[in-house]
């Protein structure tokens, strides 16, 4: 079967092109659902002790947790719009599970604050009022007085939420936030039934992540209870420690910051781009790796069509029908794929198309990363960039021993500043590309530390010669040593913080704005007027730091430029003199230098003396092309365009 038609017809407007590069989002089970379970106890609600630090947060653990959830919810709407979230409070006096509430609830002291779903504006709104205005309209943030929630109930409640709302999601996780390391102290039965319910969750495919909070300097001891609840993912990378980090205030870090950092590190479900792919280092030496895309350009969501005929605005689901030139519906079986060629179509039968594609792949049709050799890093041209890289990490699933071989290669490439060169087919039937294999340093040794990029190997796509544009501009280096020296001072005095570009510090202004407006509209709030845009340089600071240098440098540039202009004018005269009649020489096919009127001064003169129209259409086009302007149209239009340019630029 060919890979088109039906559901694969993504993209609006029915693009006619084969989208060669499927992203991981195309696999629908790759969706993530997270249910937050927040412990509501008196200690969780207690504000932190007053410290000396005025800036110290006054958040209770519950406040911090809710703030964190609120933040994450907003982020997920932008970054993972198809993913689900939910909030379950436990240990509350009140109980609520969907339609059931109070004593009728099957899960006493569990309060499903927001059911597992793709977040809606109301969810954001409710959380916002809770964290920003401390509102609690339903008095849910009240701990149970007499008895408290059974952890088995909490877990089974979560089980039901996942079973019904996110049945076929690829990733389902329960985030438990609590400061109580021993909820059923001494109660063996309660502990056992919790363990059984945890096993159910495991079998259901739900992963439990624990975010313990340590208070009053007391250690959170996970061996007391949670060791029976938490499972390791057997498919996780070998050697993964999956350590449980405890959040606490102190060390200049608020509880909120500490908790957010812990949760953020697990926030995005780890989605692999491919798994268990053969990485062939040499004939006879293959290991297995998984691939990930840690960097992916996030775009604002596309517009959709809305039907407002009902009580609530509703998304209109679209279906495509294929029609022929006479608007007759075309059956799927009639549809062929053909290539436009010389105004007609060139057709390959399905088996031929398949053969064409397969002929570049491996005999078994499987994906492959095959090393063809190594080179010094310096041989990677600085301009050689075409698209984002894929991160690979070893997996013992296909070959035992993969991790140690991978690690040895990683260390060697780092140490000797080398890179691998490989032939890479990411999926069966994907088109082969060439990649450089580059090692990333250990985050802690990186110095910056904050980049948060994992240590491992990256498949860095190399441009093919087909992708390289020949910009035919010979620009000889200028001799401007003094200017360079002065500029050097400026460069050295304007380093970015920590001398590194840390993407985390630069949110995408278009995206932020888009979602700010959207959020305001969705929540019926006032539309903001400005955006705090981190990508705008700190102009004032720049002026303060290097203003004097820059002013001086500019003056010097101006005077040097005058000299250069003069010397060029002299040279031009000399050229003109011995050249005699100018426009005779026709440039050879090498560099396409436009005829006589190539430079701006001459153009200007031509405009002033009204001699421009003596130029031929071809010459005018050359001039326009050299300025990067359109060369379409009649001679009159070309003339106008040249004149306009001269007026604007010379």
């Amino acid at each position: 079967m060919m890979a088109w038609g039906g559901d694969e017809e993504r993209r609006f407007g029915g693009s006619d092109e084969d989208e060669e590069e499927l992203d991981e989002t195309d696999f629908k089970t790759q969706k993530d659902a997270v249910l937050f379970a927040i412990d509501i106890s008196s200690s969780m609600l207690e504000p932190p002790p007053y410290g000396n630090d005025k800036k110290a947060a006054k958040d209770s653990a519950v406040d911090a947790a809710l703030k964190c959830v609120y933040q994450i919810m907003q982020q997920r709407i932008i970054a993972q719009p198809k993913d689900m979230m939910g909030i379950l409070l436990f240990g509350t006096e009140k109980s609520k599970f969907r339609d059931e509430s109070g004593t009728r609830s099957s899960y006493p002291h569990c309060y499903l604050l927001s059911d597992l779903d793709v977040p809606a504006a109301e969810d954001v709104k409710m959380l916002k009022s809770m964290v920003e205005e401390q509102e609690d309209p339903d008095d849910v943030l009240v701990p149970a007085t007499e008895e408290t929630a059974l952890m088995s109930n909490v877990l089974f409640c979560a089980n039901q939420v996942f079973t019904t709302n996110a049945a076929n999601f690829g990733s389902r996780r329960l985030f438990i936030i609590t400061d109580n390391d021993n909820p059923h102290d001494g109660d063996k039965t309660a502990q056992s039934s919790a363990a059984v319910r945890a096993k159910d969750l495991y079998d259901l495919g739900v992963i439990i992540e624990l975010f313990p909070i340590s208070r009053h300097g007391k250690q959170f001891d996970i061996s007391k209870f949670y060791d029976d609840i938490i499972y390791r993912d057997p498919a996780a990378e070998a050697g993964s420690s999956d350590e449980v980090k405890t959040a606490r205030s102190g060390d200049g870090l608020t509880l909120l910051a500490s908790l957010i950092s812990n949760i953020n590190s697990k926030q995005t479900a780890k989605r692999s781009y491919f798994s268990n792919v053969a990485f062939e280092l040499a004939p006879g030496l293959t290991i297995s790796v998984n691939g990930y895309i840690p960097l992916h350009r996030q775009q604002p969501a596309r517009t959709c069509y809305v039907w407002q005929g009902g009580e609530q605005a509703q998304l209109a689901q679209s279906e495509t029908l294929k029609v022929d030139s006479e608007a007759r519906t075309v059956e799927k079986s009639e549809v062929k794929k053909a290539y436009k060629f010389g105004g007609e179509y060139i057709y390959f039968k399905p088996d031929e198309a398949k053969k064409l594609k397969e002929s570049l792949g491996e005999p078994d049709g499987k994906p492959i990363i095959r090393v063809i050799g190594f080179k010094p890093r310096a041989l990677l041209p600085i301009w050689a960039s075409v698209k984002k890289s894929v991160f690979i990490f070893p997996s013992e699933v296909g070959f035992v021993g993969s991790t140690r071989v991978f690690s040895a290669l990683w260390q060697k490439l780092l140490k000797s500043k080398k890179m691998g060169l490989a032939w890479f087919i990411s999926r069966s039937n994907a088109n082969p590309i060439m990649v450089a294999i580059l090692p990333s340093k250990n985050p802690e040794e990186d110095g910056s530390g904050s980049l948060a990029l994992p240590a491992g190997l990256w498949l860095y796509p190399l441009p093919f010669v087909d992708d390289v544009r020949n910009v035919d501009l010979a620009i000889k280096p200028k001799n401007a040593d003094e200017l360079t020296d002065k500029m050097r001072d400026i460069v050295q005095n304007l380093q970015l913080p920590k001398a590194v570009y840390n993407p985390a510090k630069y949110p995408n202004p278009s995206l932020q704005w888009h979602y700010k407006i959207l959020q305001a509209m969705a929540l019926d709030e006032e539309v903001p007027e400005t955006l705090d845009d981190a990508t705008i340089p700190k102009y004032r600071q720049m002026d303060k730091r290097v203003g004097a240098y820059m002013a001086e440098w500019k003056e010097e540039v101006a005077s040097k430029a005058k000299e250069l202009m003069k010397s060029r004018a002299v040279k031009r005269e000399v050229d003109d003199d011995d050249g005699g009649a100018r426009p005779a020489k026709r440039a050879k096919a090498t560099t396409k230098k436009p005829s006589g009127l190539s430079n701006n001064a001459q153009l200007k003169l031509a405009v002033e003396e009204d001699t421009l129209k003596k130029m031929t259409v071809a010459d005018l086009k050359d001039v326009l092309a050299s300025k990067g302007l359109s060369t379409a149209g009649k001679k009159v239009e070309l003339l106008e365009r040249v004149e306009q340019w001269v007026e604007d630029n010379v």
């Binding site: 088109w4 709407i77 019904t164 049945a167 076929n168 059984v196 159910d200 993964s240 697990k266 780890k270 960097l295 350009r297 969501a301 959709c304 209109a316 029908l321 029609v323 022929d324 007759r328 010389g342 105004g343 179509y345 057709y347 198309a353 064409l356 570049l360 095959r370 063809i372 050799g373 041989l379 600085i382 301009w383 050689a384 960039s385 075409v386 013992e396 260390q411 140490k415 060439m434 580059l438 240590a455 190399l462 010669v465 992708d467 544009r469 010979a474 200017l483 500029m487 050097r488 380093q495 590194v500 570009y501 993407p503 407006i517 969705a522 845009d533 340089p537 102009y539 203003g547 040097k560």
Partner: protein
Amino acid sequence: MADKEATVYVIDLGDSMADCHNGRSESDLDFGMRYVWDKISTTVAASRKTWTVGVVGLNTDTTDNEQEREGLEGYDHISVLQPIGPMSMTALRELRSKIRPSHTSGGDAISAIVVAASMIDLFTKKLKYSRRIILVTNAEAPIDDDSLESVAGGLNESNIELTVIGVDFDDADYGFKEEDKSAVKAQNERALGKLVGYCDNAVLGTMAQAVEELATPRIKPVRPFKAYDGPLTLGDPSKYESAVSIHVERYFKTKRAPPPSASTVNMKPEFGMSQMHLDDDGDVDMGGAEFSGVKQMRTYRVNDPDAPGGKRDVEFEELAKGYQYGRTVVPFSESDFSVTKLETKKDFTILGFVPSSSCEPFLNMGETGIVVAQKQNEEAELALSALIHALHEVESYAVARYVQKDGAQPQMFLLKPNPGIEDDFECLYDVPLPFAEDLRTYQFPPLDKVVTITGAVLTEHRLLPSEDLTEAMSDFVDAMDLSEASVDDEGRPAEYAPIDELYNPIIHRMNQAIRARAIDPDAPIEPPAELLLRFSRPPKDLLNKAKRDIEALINIAEVKKVPEKAKGRYSKKEQVKPLSGLDIDSLLGQSRRTTISPDNAIPEFKQIFATAADDATVENATKQMGGIVRRLIQSSFADLQYAQAAENLRVMREKLIEHDRPVLYNKFVTALKKSTLSGELDGDRREMWAKYIVGGRLGLITNDESEISGVTEEIAKDFLKAT
């Protein structure tokens, strides 16, 4: 936009061209036409009106040319096969029927060139064209060498480029010499050589070389595109007098070239369905004319509880545009729309500088640009030059914010200096950087140590390389160094696989195949050119040299393939345990499950299977699960419970494969198909079938997935297709 071209091919169709020479199994004509067809089909593919082609036949049986009509002598057996004009598929097909060897050899090649030249003169007048004549001949027919100089003069005057490609011409540079060459041919070669010598712009070559060079993919030239023309600033010139502003221009350096894309087409109605089946016999000439493009039409539906199936169609006119915020739909009026777009001004401004060592290439998010100073602007030239050299000297890059034009999305760029020391090209290169939102924080364990559950740090472990392995890897990497694994034109060691040798395999593979099919629709698909697969494997010489190191590495690495999962129907598998190692089964054991509750179906089903000791237990559990699946579908309001039903089905399928009971599943899913499609599960359940079972790949278990299944891939496919 492209330059205008007029090319006339002069093709020798003489009787001797039908013969095969020098051990080739194809005729001289077929051999030569490989070159010509390739060139002409490239022109067809471009479908540019301004690239025009004419064809003149030499040594044709008949005579058809202007000169002969005017009564000039010496123009016999020369026919204009195609007047100069744009090259279409139709013209290509017509031409194909005319390229046949004749029964004569009476034409004169030089006269044919004159015919071609006058065609060009007539067609191009004095306009700006690139003019070209390409002569393909085996030079076995006598050539009149009286007027070589004046013909060459004519060509020069008209600015016509001449290419003579001879079949089996001697070429010392290429290293070909034909033994036992006929005296006539030798003389003709000399004559043609002379002619070429008299021309300002002409080449003579041997066909073998031309054909060989066809294998080298041609790169589609693209005109430089100026993406930006304006100031590059340091500081804000509108607010601070000190701010620097350099007038620059930005072009693309890399731009991903897409492979040829297929269009969705169907047979034009007049060709009908019946003929479709003929193509298997090769009866229909699938030249392409019988296809027409398929368009897409969209229909829209909304949920409506009262409508059958829970959905109803709505007219496009009833819809407003909007965005989704989470699951909330936010309609936007036309006037609201522009508000969501950030207002930006065209801008290219530097935020600050970073040491180049802190910039890892894998942070690059896309294609590279080139930044140069505005032409003929001395101030800009000097200023940019100083910036480039300063960056180069202190080994730094600049980080800049780039807005291509008013209203465009801001991007972050890394600007890298190219001081033009090696390549005489002084510029900045820019690559796009990620924003905060583009970063996904995935956690991975460290690669150089192992942290145990208890927090102990190990540096020796089966997951970590031993010293021997580290050393063997180092030797291997060094032995496989490519930086001098190739040789340059002068025989010196050179870098292997530099970027200018990396051709995109799929682009050229498809182009080759499409062109081949356009020329000859009946020919089978040939294997890809060797050149395209050249870098799919390490170079052989290098492997031989590194043999010892490779073997040593393999021995020390001790990598073992994980065997296919050992399957045992009721073998005791290792039980999964929580961190504490608590044996949950023993907790469960007290009340061993036999019934499955619908609300905890998957865990309970799995737990029964994990401990099942006989067929009856498995069958019973499957039966219960099947019932649950059916009830979920039956009681589902619209599609609410479909996902849950599908997930249960998926687990059931997976476990039955594991337990070697495919037949049990296949029986169930066959019955389920009947039920969902017949409507017996309380309503229209076709969506469950199409979207969840077919789409979720939950069809029959094939013998590929389970050896004892009697279902082949074909049967499984048909099962999913048939409704």
